[in-house]
Subunit: 392 residues, 2 copies
């Protein structure tokens, strides 16, 4: 038993922040370091934010607990957004406000999965999802997926997924636009995943944190909008990415009203209620999104292009998100991955290690092209080019 | 297996918001209803809040993720507060910012307790703590405690607690000032609980959400300040109570640096990081607390006194928190508890049902005396007096 001073078993093998282990080394570099390791944006929110003297007068209840599902006004604004942008058949009862997408995913996992059960995770995948499944006492089955779609977009997904299915599998985790690969799934690919899930009665956990962040006119498609899939899908959104406000910790979960009710029971035991202040701040930005979102998308696409074209090595071009994900294998030439990783850090560029995104990506790195202002990004490109030149 | 459309077992017996079941009935009454059921304050924060046009200039990083432990400046401000007010031997490494006390307690439970283990819960206790323990797959052992201290403050606590101990017990949940009873534990009582925990190597989860809310000059004592207990204790604080800002969802956990590190691993899987915006907002109020806290304490004490003296029935006088907790038994005269409870609601006063606070409190009600402005509180007092008169 984990009596003092031991902790519970479930956290023994849990990783903390992915970047914790490099924190000291990064700190030592100070401002010199160009930080491409974290998924964030250098932009302050480009929409008007109600952080002003009339806020407290206008929202007299800002400081109090709200309804544990979220306040009515933001849920109504989200209904319009979800219908118009995501074509999801929602009403207010299909929406639960959460403290960011992380919180929404944790709630989804704990509401759906029993100890001893399995969850199919299409990889590469966001690192903390693995730990969430483990925290619930369940097991992750990794399914290498997104990166191979770049080379072979038409392989038979249903057949492929069936190879990984176990009798204990109860859910599948899908993430489009995909962090870290930048892959955006198309309707046909999602249809196959959906068909597979329906056939095996698997819950679909659809992580759409990068909703709105697609390039070259590619649409973002919510799997829950496909015929017959809404009730079987829990879709996760956030204000941390296209809304440029990760520091707010606000997100939302979309599902059938029965499932939202079940998720609320989990939420009150992790959070009690979402932040009232944060919700009041996001009502206007949701409603004005068509005025500012295209500008942000264009800017990020420009940053992506600048990065891709500036780099003298060839990498898969992300279709969405703000990441570049590629293998260091061609540059190893007998060298150790971690040796290169740390050299990169010493050369003033921090990146995220591939192993955190899945077992099959040990030789990959992920770089974020929006976390630093363009002039700093250029410094990173120059450093990366010099670095890779020394390796060839 | 909980395949679509079933959910996980752990939430089958979980309650949602305590008040969900009365929501429609309460809604039907509209503004007429005086709401004493929820623990909140009618006061807008009395300190100066940096919700103004210079906020974004002053805190350029407000919109971004922060260090998952919290930002340095608020952790430093809290070190001073914890040393001065709570006499806890802390440095920055002993503090983890969370999304409110609920989140901090959930993190503590999941970091400490394995499935199949037991947690001693001194009752009456905050309803969601029971569910948190169940979500972790563990069992609550209820120990009727706080209410009997009003009648018998000197009973032998160690002997009494030993009666409830099982071989599977790994932690004890203590809450002072106690929600709902208003009991404030003194040094001698805490010493006995601490001695018991040390003897049996139980973790102490000390819920101090009502830190700062004690009356008649009674001190609030953190159990972690007692000799030899700091390393064995996880202490939970919040900005929702004396800071009057439940809508911010900010709280913090205090423990040994090893335990903070372990709790951070749980936090990143529930929340990723605490709200950057929320943390920047609370730095000044922490530092100016001596200027405004005494005023709030005095005001709440006045409200308590007005309530206690206005009521024509006799109830235990709370020593802290903002609740009155008493049994309806003397008024039942053969009537059903729930009949009275609903009549009270129909008479325009909502209260929280006792059963949610523990098995032994089925005939109790909890009333909050700070959630409505004084003139509305007076209306509630008049209604309660008329109501109880009809019962005698």
């Amino acid at each position: 038993m984990p009596r003092f001073p031991q902790t519970a078993d479930r956290i023994q093998h849990l990783e903390g922040s992915v970047f914790e282990k490099f924190r000291e080394k990064m700190k030592a570099q100070g401002d010199k370091l160009v930080r491409l390791h974290i998924g964030d944006t250098y932009l302050q929110p480009v929409y008007s934010l109600p952080i002003n003297s009339s806020f407290m007068e206008q929202h007299r209840m800002f400081h109090r607990y709200c309804h544990t599902y979220g306040i009515d006004r933001i849920r109504k604004a989200l209904v319009t957004k979800l219908q118009e942008d995501n074509h999801l058949p929602v009403s207010v009862d299909n929406i639960l406000l959460t403290s960011g997408a992380t919180n929404a995913l944790s709630i989804a996992v704990h509401t759906l999965v029993n100890p001893g059960e399995d969850v199919l995770v299409l990889t590469p995948a966001w690192p903390f999802f693995f730990g969430m499944v483990n925290m619930a006492g369940a097991k992750v089955i990794e399914v290498p997926f997104y990166t191979r779609l770049f080379h072979n977009p038409d392989f038979s997904i249903s057949e492929y997924l069936a190879r990984y299915l176990t009798p204990q599998t109860v859910a599948i985790y899908v993430n489009t636009p995909n962090n870290p690969s930048g892959k955006v799934l198309d309707a046909q690919q999602l249809q196959q995943i959906g068909e597979f899930a329906r056939q095996h009665r698997l819950w679909i956990i659809s992580d759409e944190a990068y909703d709105g962040l697609t390039y070259d006119g590619r649409p973002h498609i919510s799997i829950g909008q496909l015929p017959g899939l809404f009730d079987q899908t829990l879709t996760v959104f956030t204000f941390s990415k296209i809304f440029m406000f990760a520091g707010l910790r606000l997100g939302y979960l979309v599902a059938s009203s029965e499932m939202i009710h079940a998720c609320n029971r989990t939420l009150v035991h992790q959070l009690y209620s979402p932040s009232t202040l944060a919700q009041y701040m996001m009502i206007d930005p949701i409603q004005t999104r068509h005025q500012w979102m295209p500008r942000v998308q264009r800017h990020y696409q420009e940053l992506r292009d600048r990065f891709i074209h500036g780099l003298e090595i060839s990498v898969p071009v992300p279709e969405g998100t703000y990441f570049i994900f590629f293998s260091l294998k061609p540059f190893l030439n007998g060298r150790d991955y971690w040796q290169l990783f740390h050299q990169l850090l010493e050369n003033g560029v921090s990146v995220a290690p591939g192993q955190d995104f899945g077992r099959d990506f040990q030789d990959y790195v992920r770089l974020c092209f929006t976390g630093e202002p363009p002039e700093r990004l250029q410094i990173a490109i120059d450093r990366l080019n010099r670095f890779f030149k020394t390796l060839c």
